[in-house]
Structures are given as C-alpha cells and as structure tokens.
C-alpha cells in the first residue's frame, strides 16, 4: 500500500503563498489500495496561441536542437516558469488541427477550432453542434471508470462526452471544492454511515432502472444510457472514496466572484489533491485569465486581451509580441505550480508527478491570425513511454497544402497518449489520421 507521510503532505502545501490557499486539516494516511501507483492524466488547455517567445532557445543563441535548450532565456519567455521541470518535458511544435479544415471537416476554425484540441475532430454540422467524437479526458475517464474532473475558465475550450454532448462548464471553485471534498467523511457517526448506506441503495436502484432502460435502446440512444450508468458509477465511487484523505480548507467567498489568479491557484491545488487522493485519475482544466488581465502589464489602460493585445500583435514589433507572451507565461506559472505540487507528494519510490501525464495545448496557433495550425503541445510528468527533456518539431516546412498538413495532424499525439492508458487505439478522433505520433 502506498503511503504518503503527513510531513510530506503538509510540506507540499504549506509553502503556497496566497493567504486564501488552503491549509490542510489532516493526514492522508492511505489514499489508495493498489500496490502499483495508477497512471493519471491531466489535460490543460488555454487560449490565444503562441509567439516566438514560446520556443526554447539555446544558451549560445544557436539553432534550436532537440536537447540542451533553456526556457527562462528572457523575463517574457512563455515557458520560463517551467525551466525547473524541463527535464521531464516534451515540447512539440508544428502540429495542426487538420481535422478542422481537412477533408470531412465542418470547417471550424479560429476560436471554433478549439473543439479539436482534445477531441481530434470537428462539429457534426452547422446546425448540429455536437462533437463528432469525445475528448480524450472524458474518453479515458470512461475507459478507466474514474469520475472525470473538468474545470472550465474559457468558454471556447470544452470537453465532450461520448454522445458528442458538451461536458458542462464549471468555473466555480467553491462548488468544485464541495463536489470533490465536501462529502469526505472523517467521522464514524452512525447517522452519517446510515446516510451512506441509504445513498448507495438509491444508487443501486437507479442503476437497475438505467440498465433496464438501456436494454431497450440501440445505437446513439444506448450511448446516452451508457453515459448515465458511468455517471452513477462515478457517484458510487465518490461515496466509497477514501475516508482518511486530507482535504484542503474550504475556500472563502463566492465562487462566481473570485478573481482569476485565485481561481487558477485553487484549481491547481484541487486538481493535484484529487489526483493524489484517488478521487479521479483524469482531470482537466481549461485555463484562461479572462478578457481583462489587470494583474499583467499588457500596455494601455486595462486593455481587452483578445482585441487589444492578441489580435493586434505585430510580427515586427517586439513589445507587442512580448505582451502576448506574458499572457502565455501567466498560464505557464500555474502549470509549473501544478507540477511542483504533484512532485511534492511522495508515492511509491517517487512522487505522484512520476505517475502522471500532463497534456497541455492551446486553442490555436498564431495569435493574430487565429490559425488552427502550428498549435503548441507540451507534455509534462513522469508518465508516458517516451523520452523526456526534448523539443520536437513536426513542421514539414512545405507550408500550405492539405496533404502536407495531414502529416502534422495532432490526432496522432492524442492516440499516443490514449494508448498509454491501455486504450489500444489505432486512431483518436478523426479516423483518417491513423497511427501514433512518430518520433515522440
């Protein structure tokens, strides 16, 4: 049985600076029963694309190579905060959301191509705004029979279920806290135990009911009930969750009024705690600091991020590029904090970070032009059967033809990640893009 020491646990979170960040009220004694730590997936997405400050740079200023680069080469470098984690990173450039403009697509580009980020597919049609396929987080949560955790701070980036339905948005950290930690029992109160028994009996009844209905359905209608049954299983899992798992102190105030920096800080904390406690194995956060980021120096007087910073970026004006990169860097700081937290939780002979794959991407590539090609991907964590500490480029350089871009379809990366969890897929999302990403 994996043990996480109280000292290590408290040490992990005691260093967090914001006053509102929770302090832990207990000891995580035995979070999970299995002998081998489970592999977990974290999906992170963000808006606004990337700039030249996103690419790593060589210390000597030479041509970028697969290894030996730095991320903190400039105060405005996008990935600078992740310098301390670079040995476990794979940075990938040159992949495209080909599924959104290639054959068979609905043609969702610009912000609309964000649907491709985690699904590898497009909308079904202009009047049928379901995804053709599920996103990798919901797909794997279903495969692993673990309750998905989805936090959404940006309305263009979403997760999608097996029916093609959008997974409900959730940006309220007070609610998220209640859902994740509110029901954790820390008592042997007989009334609480009676409630648990009654709750489980209700779920058993609902499960039988759903099973009966499912047998009468076929095709996509049956998938609806499959989804329902998974939900019931997730609810049962939450009732049976570890009772000794430490939970963060409850957040203060109204979740819908919380500032974005605090929301993200709490999101990363809840996410890492949920993974460590075994409350889920698949967690997603669609990051975004909002359309006003007064906590960053973006020039002007409280500019609108989208219109006044991103869309007006000029390739020959360094300051305009730096401003966009600062937005990316702000997101990177939260990603780095998540890595720190996961690394600080011992598990087996290592840490929870060692048994996690973090998949981090964007809604688009070029900020100004909102193109769905050259979309950035970053892999973090110790999980995944690939060599770490590398920069990979898949940009063929041939540019513009659909054929050339087909080779850069990001689907193959999603397939590679899905197969780390035993999915045994030959493709993920759009069926045309078969195989795993080569060279990873």
């Amino acid at each position: 049985m994996t043990q996480i020491s109280r000292r290590a646990w408290l040490k992990t979170f005691a260093g967090l600076s914001a006053a509102s960040v929770a302090q832990f009220d207990g000891l995580l004694r035995s979070a999970w029963a299995q002998t081998a730590p489970p592999l977990r997936l974290v999906c992170l997405t963000q808006p606004h694309g990337i700039t030249s400050y996103w690419r790593p740079r060589m210390p000597n200023g030479g041509a970028l190579t697969e290894r030996g680069w730095r991320l903190d080469f400039d105060p405005d470098s996008s990935l600078g905060p992740l310098e301390r984690h670079k040995d476990s990173m794979v940075i990938i450039e040159g992949l495209d959301f080909t599924c959104c403009y290639g054959p068979g697509s609905t043609g969702s580009i610009g912000h609309h191509s964000a649907i491709a980020a985690l699904t590898g597919s497009d909308l079904r049609g202009p009047d049928d705004r379901r995804s053709k396929t599920p996103s990798i987080d919901i797909f794997l949560a279903s495969l692993l029979r673990t309750p998905p955790l989805v936090i959404t701070f940006y309305d263009a980036l979403k997760s999608w279920d097996a029916t093609g339905e959008v997974y409900p948005e959730n940006e309220d950290m007070v609610r998220t806290y209640q859902q994740l930690f509110g029901g954790l029992m820390t008592t042997t109160d007989p009334v609480a135990q009676a409630k648990s028994r009654a709750d489980l009996r209700v779920l058993s009844y609902l499960n039988s009911d759903a099973q009966r209905l499912r047998t009468r359905l076929a095709g996509p209608e049956r998938v609806k009930l499959d989804q329902h049954l998974e939900t019931l299983h997730s609810m049962e899992t939450r009732i049976n969750r570890p009772t000794s798992c430490a939970k963060p102190a409850a957040p203060v105030g109204r979740g819908d009024l919380m500032e974005y920096p605090l929301r993200h800080q709490l999101a990363m904390q809840y996410l890492s705690t949920a993974l460590a406690c075994g409350l889920t194995r698949v967690a997603t956060c669609h990051l975004s600091g909002g359309n006003r980021m007064p906590f960053l120096d973006l020039g002007g007087t409280d500019p609108a991020v989208h219109n006044d910073v991103v869309h007006v970026m000029q390739d020959n004006v360094d300051l305009s590029i730096r401003r966009v990169s600062r937005i990316h860097r702000w997101h990177a700081e939260h990603v780095a904090a998540l890595c720190d937290q996961l690394k600080a939780i011992p598990e087996g002979n290592g840490t929870v970070y060692d048994n996690t794959i973090i998949l981090w991407t964007n809604e688009l590539g070029n900020p100004r032009d909102h193109e769905p090609w050259n979309v950035p991907f970053v892999l973090l964590g110790g999980g995944g059967a690939w060599q770490k500490g590398r920069f990979l480029t898949y940009n063929s350089g041939s540019g513009t033809s659909v054929t050339a871009r087909e080779t850069n379809a990001h689907n193959r990366l999603l397939t590679k990640v899905a197969n780390q969890f035993g999915a045994n897929r030959t493709f993920f999302g759009e069926p045309a893009f078969t195989g795993e990403l080569q060279g990873l």
Partner: protein, 574 residues
C-alpha cells in the same frame, strides 16, 4: 472571445452563397466527406458548403414516416416543473445549463453526466430540507413504524404515478419501500414522524433521480420488431403531449385520458391540448416565451449586456432587470393570442417606468402594455431585448443582427468564418463616423473576399441600425444621420429593399419563406431534434395548417401534436 470579433468573423468568407439548409444529403445528415479544401497562400481555407437547394423528394405524402425511437432527458425547465409536482416550488434547480446543440434547450441530445447528476442531488437535498416538515402523517399513521410505512407507501404510489407518468409497478413499490426503510435511519431523532419523513426523503430522491423520471421515453410498446413503426404507449403519448405543450408532466386528467385510449386519435389529442391551454395558461405562456427567446437567441446573461458605462451612462443592473421582466411579460401576454404577425410586427410593448426612456415615451406609473409609434417599433426584432442582446457593450452590431435574422428567421446557413479576421474598431473610438460607416469601411479594407457573405446579411443588420446598443430608436449617431435603409436578399421573391426596421419586420412577416422557417424552428423546438428528409410531409402539413389558421402559433403546436407522426416511432435494432 469577443463579440465584436465574432460578429465580423464571417467577413472574409469566400464566395459565400448562403445556402438554404446547408446542402443536406438526402438522408438528412450533413455531408461528412468532401473533396479537399481549397488552399490559399497562407494556408487552407475552410470548406465552403455546396450551394445547392434542398433536394426534397417529390413523392406524395401518404405513408407515415415516424422519427426514430428515443429517450429525451428533461431540460432544466421540464425538470423543474416535474420536481415541483413532487416537492412544490421551493427551490431553484442547481444543475448545469442546458446545452443547445440543435439550437434549443429541448434538444434530445442531452445526457445525464456527473455535474448534472450531482447538481440534481444538491437540488433534492435543498428541496427536501425546505419541505420535509410539511410532509404530514396522520395520527393513525404515526401510531407505529408499520403504520407510518403503510401511509408512506400510499403517498409514494400517488407521487410515483405523477413522476413516472404511469402507475408504479409492484417491484418498484417494493424497492422504494426498501429505500424508505434505510432512509428512516438517517435521522438521529427517534420519533415515528421524524423517521417516516427521513424515509420519505430518500424514497422521493430515488423517484426524482430515476431514469423513469429524467427521460421522456418514446420507445413504443416493448417487444416491437426492429425496423417497424411502433405506437407510443398511452403513458408516452401523455408525456409527449404535456412536455411539448407545457414543459411539464401530464396532470392526472391527461393520464386518465391516456389510459382510456383517448390520445390515440387526433381529435382526442386536440381536445386535451385545448383543455390544457385553458387549465395551464401560465405554463403554456412560459413555454412560448422560452421558444421565442431561444429562436432569436435573446439572452440576458450574454456579455453584451455588460454595457459600457461611458457609452450608456443610463444603463444599470436595475434597467436590465426591468428589460428582462417586461420582455417576459410581453411574450407571456402575447402567448394568450400568439399570432406570428403580431410577434413580428406588433407595435405595442410592455413598458415600465425605468424602460420608458428606451422607447422615447413618458414614464408610466407601472409597467403595462403601451401602443408605440408604429413607424419606430414593429415586433420583437425592434425590441430592446433583441437589439441589446445582439449588440456590443459599447454600440450596435449590424453584422450580428443581420446574421441572426439570416440564420434564424430565414433558416439560411453560412460557411464557418475564416480565422484571420481583424476585429472591428469600436464606433465610439472613431468619432465622426456611424457604426454603419465603420463596418462598410472595414469591409472595403477586407477586399472582395468579404463581400459574398456580408451581402447576404449586412443589409438586414443595417436596417436595424435605427437602434443603438440598448435598443433606443435613433436618427443620428455621433452627430451624423443614421442610414437604416437595407434589404432582404435571396427570399422567395426578388431582393427587396426596405426603408428601415419596421419595413424590414413587415416584409419578413409577410414572406412565405420566413413562415416556413418559423414552422421549421417550431418543429425543432417541439420535437427536440433537427428535421430529416423523412419529416418533409410533416413539415408540409404544418406549413399548410399554419397558413390556414392565420399563423396562430398555438395552433401550430397543436397541429404538430395532432399529426399522425406524433403517435409512432420507428424501432431501432438493439
């Protein structure tokens, strides 16, 4: 994503023709495979929909072509009305917003995912806490645990029939009894009454979370062969009728009529529709309000309603509340005699003390219906609710307004916008120009690639330039005269120029194509799905009924319920 950018995002569409129905394939599905997209020097451009007219088969409408068998998860409104039957109106729902993949919250694609299920659980806990003390058990019932259990089961049978829209089966009663027994132990209080209420709480939670309640079943009689047309059961008919008309579960009288087999005939269903319209006018009015709001994408939670204080110093949260409330009153009042023409061209509107200035009239003491200047106001498209939603925070939005009219009023499709569209400069940042001039200048800068698409909808949006971002009528903007001349392009008659917004509204109202689009939208709303080729005959019958009954919207919904396709579903292969 910023609304101003989205509004202009279609600007660079290539060779846009605005196809009707988006070029559907004969089976009603959208094409999923096509030739590669064209390319441009900067990369592949989006695939343009094939500019074809719908290829409707011309076979006579003789055979009944029912929709596939299915289950439909209750929408927020439907679930709320259903829980009201079990608990009373004691608390708001705490579940995620309905998605609108097909345009309406009634869509049958919705699922029971974890956030929904947990939100429902929270809702039930809240409602139970609020009403638990009112669950009465007579002194006889409180005489013993056994007596209390018998009384509880009796109550559960009654509530269960309303929740499941049919009598509970014996095994369901047994299971609910077992849950009741376990629920009794969840209170520390040991009195018979407290324990019985705790047991009822859990049994009701089981009812309220059951798939039997959460889904409207349209499967027909169990055992029907795959590929055949199965008749809906009496319970399913009552359920479909009640939720279509009222977004609420069937009442006892409707269930009784269903069990007597009266809903199997068109006349029987018409009789029940008429009874329910009289018995539950408020529910019907709310249902029509929901339809119209969703049809025209009126949404007071949209960021566009965070109006700029510098542009609109008179705007306040209280004003928004008043606009919202009076729009609701207007639509619910209209629903008493829901004429399509009145909806699109009526010049009376509910106006209150706070909103009077928006309409340029003296403030009344209380909100009420006011006859407005018919040269300034004509129907819902000229209302602050529509115009303020389809606006920027600091100005009007002719492109957005035009697109909504094109897509939702004319049922015409547009190709997705290209990616590299620069945002439209704010008109307030360009003194000396009107919004229209800013847009037209922006279009010119975009070159000819922009013109194809924008020619289809900008002229309709320009006609609505007679209103600012709050919906106030105006003849000047930035000290310059407003040009609100426009046109309707590509209707069932030659392009029609309009001198302004009221002429636009009246032209739309009198168009047969617009009426057919409205029928289609009502079909989507009422059935919770997109129309397929097999629905051609149904739509033709609805069009005919709608035209024949003076474009009465209640009659349109009744026609759908009376239609023979309402009672049958095609059974799928398991």
């Amino acid at each position: 994503m910023n609304g101003r950018h989205v509004a202009l995002a279609v600007m660079f569409g290539v060779g846009c023709t605005g196809t009707i129905d988006g070029g559907r394939s004969p089976n009603g599905e959208f094409p999923t495979d096509s030739s590669p997209s064209p390319t441009s020097p900067t990369g592949p451009m989006p695939t343009e929909p094939t500019p074809t007219m719908p290829t409707m088969p011309s076979a006579p409408c003789t055979a009944v072509e029912p929709a596939p068998a299915r289950v439909i998860r209750l929408s927020q409104v439907e679930l709320g009305n259903t829980l009201d039957v079990l608990y009373g109106q004691v608390a708001a729902l705490d579940v995620p917003r309905d998605s609108r993949a097909f345009g309406y919250s009634t869509g049958d694609q919705q699922t029971v995912n974890l956030p929904f299920a947990e939100g429902l659980q929270r809702t039930l806990e809240t409602r139970s806490t609020a009403v638990r003390a009112s669950w009465t058990f007579s002194s006889t019932c409180q005489a013993s645990e056994t007596a209390a259990r018998t009384c509880a089961i009796d109550q559960l049978r009654t509530l269960g029939r309303l929740a499941f829209r049919r009598p509970l089966t014996a095994s369901e009663v047994t299971e609910l009894g077992e849950i009741y027994d376990l629920g009794r132990d969840t209170t520390a209080t040991t009195t018979v009454l407290a324990r019985a209420r705790a047991g009822m709480d859990y049994a009701l939670r089981a009812l309220a979370q059951s798939p039997q309640l959460l889904y409207r079943s349209e499967l027909g009689t169990d055992g029907a062969a795959a590929g055949t047309n199965a008749a809906l059961t009496s319970s399913e008919l009552a359920t479909a009728l009640a939720y279509t008309l009222l977004a609420a579960p069937p009442d006892a009288a409707l269930l009784d009529a269903a069990e007597r087999g009266e809903l199997s005939t068109s006349a029987g269903r018409r009789a029940e529709v008429n009874r329910l319209l009289t018995a539950s006018p408020n529910l019907f009015a709310a249902q029509l309000e929901r339809f119209v709001s969703e049809w025209l994408l009126i949404d007071f939670d949209k960021p566009a309603w965070t109006k700029s204080a510098s542009t609109y110093p008179s705007f306040s949260p209280a004003l928004l509340t008043a606009i919202k409330s009076e729009t609701s009153q207007q639509l619910r009042g209209w629903a008493r005699q829901p004429s399509f023409d009145t909806l699109l061209t009526g010049s009376s509107w509910v106006v209150g003390p706070q909103t009077a200035s928006l309409f340029g009239i003296s403030a009344p003491a209380t909100a009420g219906s006011v006859a407005l200047n018919p040269s300034q106001r004509a129907g819902i498209l000229t209302s602050p609710a529509f115009l303020g939603t389809h606006a920027h925070t600091d100005g009007s939005a002719p492109v957005s307004r035009g697109i909504v009219v094109l897509r939702n009023v004319l049922c015409r499709s547009l190709p997705p916008p290209p990616a590299n569209v620069p945002p439209l400069p704010s008109s307030s940042s360009m003194p000396g120009r009107t919004t229209r001039a800013v847009v037209e200048n922006h279009l010119r800068n975009g070159g000819s690639a922009c013109q194809g698409c924008h020619a289809l909808f900008n002229p309709m949006g320009y006609a609505l330039e007679a209103y600012d971002g709050l919906g106030r009528f105006r003849t000047e903007e930035n000290g310059l005269p407003v040009d609100s001349t426009g046109a309707i392009v590509g209707l069932d008659r030659p392009d029609q120029s309009v001198a302004g917004p009221t002429e636009l509204a009246r032209a739309l109202s009198s168009s047969a194509e617009v009426q057919k689009c409205f029928t289609k939208q009502a079909f989507r709303f009422a059935t919770g799905r997109l129309e397929a080729t097999a629905d051609r005959c149904t739509l033709e019958r609805l069009d005919a009924r709608f035209a024949a009954n003076g474009k009465d919207v209640a009659g349109l919904l009744s026609a759908l319920i009376e239609d023979e396709t309402f009672t049958q579903r095609k059974v799928a292969t398991p």
